[in-house]
Symmetry: C2
Subunit: 443 residues, 2 copies
């Protein structure tokens, strides 16, 4: 192996594979993969969706409820946790698993994107990002080394490399410079990462929507060597078509023996399309944020439980769903809870949406294992198109999924969390960082 | 039986006892009673505490969680439910039990107090109360007949008579006039009440802090005849000593074969004192409201989890408590959740406080059955006095229960729900009506 031009200026890194952390490919269907990720805190059946627990809690859910939806791994954020309650404090409390009472694996984002998008003031240079906390104005520095050390303190099963999520749109030159710096940072993260059995480190592919930059980024990360590979810098406003084009140009280049994670995505249709292209892991605030705003995912689209049309409807959200909201309550009652601003409303709709997402993932895993993913994907495409058409037509009671791109969905997802302050940055990945926190603030 | 001067002007009412509804006295210890109330939706071991589910939900709790705390009966409010979602709608949805998915008995308050305290405009006369909704300004009329019919539509296992909760302070004449009208209303409720197996109707004793008026009220209600008797008009600012004096003058007069319910009370020490005087049923927003503000009930007092002193504390709220907050989480994590405004914080503290209250009631039931209530009451008195002393002394980490009277506690409980608009009315009973709803509004 020759040293990558993007790797650390020190000696070439030895081949990398964290002991006890791994990916098993169980079945393929076209480019899609049915697999299993093994970590220090158990295994994750893939393709998998990780609920977002930005500040060490999946909003409005007990950890038992999160597990009851079928989720096996959750995501938390370095940026938020380093500021509150602080990485040292989390470590003293025994790490995130003990603190949250989450028994399964945890993946942490590295904080770069949040420092750039949420912080009041920030400056990025070769060393890292200097920023002021959006909470209390205190100054903090995040570097590849510091971000890696914090994730170690948090006890993350999967540590993400510290990177810059290249804004969209970006010129080729800007995207290239940004990506190459992230690759140099990735090498520093690899050096800083403390290997422990069952704990892994993921690199993040950048390069905006430029296939040659994505290929260069994959090559750079592969040369460094990681336990898994994430595709970053998507769902930031580029739209579904460009996102899928970029996945088409990127995913086939990724090492086949490691898990692949598409960061901050997305709506059900986005996930379906990405699974068909070989992605294994997903996270997004959409189901939890939607739940807090009264939007429920049902077969073929969404409905807004706040609509007056639900006020007398004795039916459950989804007659085939087995979540507590659907087993025990009518749409009329859920409408009433939102009408009154009752916390139970957001608890039940969050639970339902996470359950819906986990059912989606289970159905995709089954479809891959049984070699019928093509037909399942076709069904989702038809349903998504029908929902958009119904919404465009303004049909009575249609209230389908109005968003036609993950980027737009992501953009709306950041309302109220400060991420939207920075134009063009308020995308899907931002959507993962505590978006809609105003809605979750009950106090 | 001669017709009471306060009974309906029509013919004397026949003796009253709803079939399938009843009270069994299982043990006595002094004036205290260990009993069981039988209803259409199951039995309730008494003394019992009913969590408050004003709008058809115990705030921030799933019904399964409420049941898991040990609660057997919950309270809901006619006033709130007639406005939202509407009594007809609740009836179409199969009644409150089906709508809330609460399998056990439900008691509903009759709406009189809330109409007087929450409504923007209201006028009381012999017929009833005309008021404008505090939500949308629509005009509504509540009469004894209408309040009784609504509670029937709601499918309340225990219907409360429509009454006026006499303000405190009140002159003897004002208190007498108010009480006597409530007694005439009680007779009208009795006539309007539709008997069904397992469904009961409770009269409400009024008379402010005047023993002779309380005695007159008990005599009037007893002459009419009810399935149970509530003591109303207390915890409205009179203070603990006057409240207990009034109980001393009232409870011994109540029929021994029917359950006795002290409305809107209270703190643990209030409940302990009232149980010792023969009260069987309680309700109050204090545990749920306190949970939403970060106040946790622990042995011997309360603590405010928002205090910075808890930020690094790895201990549970209460090492002897078996609720999820105490089994799974540290004080430090709960502090963090409140620091971040996370919904899970209010969910966990609400759960803990309701669990604490149910444990208190279980311990009182056991103490009565085993003839050791006197000693248990003495222990609670000592702990409450120590907590007040610690708070007065401002000792580090004392944060005991600062409130020395149920009335004051009740008064603070109504902040944010409009009840406090009316001076002198914002007491313990108001505390039952959705107090602190601003805190519970997560949307």
């Amino acid at each position: 192996m020759t040293a990558s031009p993007f790797a650390s200026s020190t000696s070439p890194l030895p081949p990398f594979s964290s002991p006890g952390f791994g990916y098993s490919l169980l079945a393929r269907d076209g480019a899609a993969r049915r697999g299993r990720v093994a970590t220090a805190h158990g295994t994750v059946e893939t393709p998998a969706f990780m609920p977002v627990g930005t500040a060490g809690t999946v909003k409005a859910m007990t950890p038992d409820a999160v597990a009851a939806t079928g989720a096996e791994m959750v995501l938390a954020n370095t940026y938020h946790l380093m500021l509150r309650p602080g990485a040292d404090r989390v470590a003293r409390l025994g790490g995130l698993h003990a603190m949250m009472h989450w028994q399964g694996p945890i993946l942490t984002d590295s904080g770069g994107f949040q420092a750039m998008s949420l912080a009041a003031l920030r400056r990025i240079d070769e060393d890292g990002i200097l920023f002021q906390s959006h909470i209390d104005g205190t100054r903090h520095m995040l570097t590849p080394e510091r971000a890696t050390a914090i994730q170690d303190q948090l006890d993350a099963d999967i540590t993400m490399c510290f990177d810059e999520c290249t804004p969209f749109p970006a010129t080729f030159e800007v995207a290239a410079d940004s990506m190459r710096r992230s690759m140099r940072w990735a090498a520093r993260c690899r050096v800083a990462f403390r290997q422990r059995p069952g704990y892994g480190l993921f690199g993040i592919v950048q390069g905006s929507v430029y296939p040659e930059l994505r290929a260069e980024s994959v090559a750079a990360l592969s040369a460094i060597g990681f336990d898994g590979y994430a595709v970053g810098g998507l769902a930031v406003g580029e739209g579904l078509a460009l996102m899928l084009d970029t996945l088409d140009a990127t995913v086939p280049l990724l090492p086949a023996d490691r898990p692949r994670y598409l960061m901050g995505v997305g709506r059900p249709i986005d996930i379906v399309e990405a699974v068909a292209r070989g992605i294994d892991l997903f996270d997004c605030v959409i189901p939890t944020r939607a739940g807090r705003t009264g939007r429920a995912y049902v077969q073929g689209g969404t409905l807004n439980i706040r609509n007056a049309g639900h006020a007398d409807d004795p039916r459950p959200l989804d007659p085939d769903c087995t979540c507590p909201a659907c087993r025990h309550h009518s749409r009329a009652y859920l409408h009433h809870l939102f009408d009154c601003g009752e916390v139970l409303g957001i608890m039940l709709l969050t639970w339902h949406n996470l359950h819906h997402y986990q059912q989606l993932m289970a159905s995709l895993r089954a479809a891959i294992a049984e070699g019928r993913l093509t037909e399942v994907v076709a069904g989702h495409r038809a349903a998504a198109a029908a929902a958009v058409a119904a919404a465009d037509g303004g049909g009575a009671g249609a209230d389908g999924d109005l968003d036609s791109s993950a980027g737009r969905e992501g953009a709306s997802a950041t309302d109220g969390d400060g991420a939207a302050r920075i134009k063009g940055r308020s995308g899907g990945r931002g959507a993962r960082t505590g978006a809609g926190r105003d809605l979750g603030r009950a106090l």
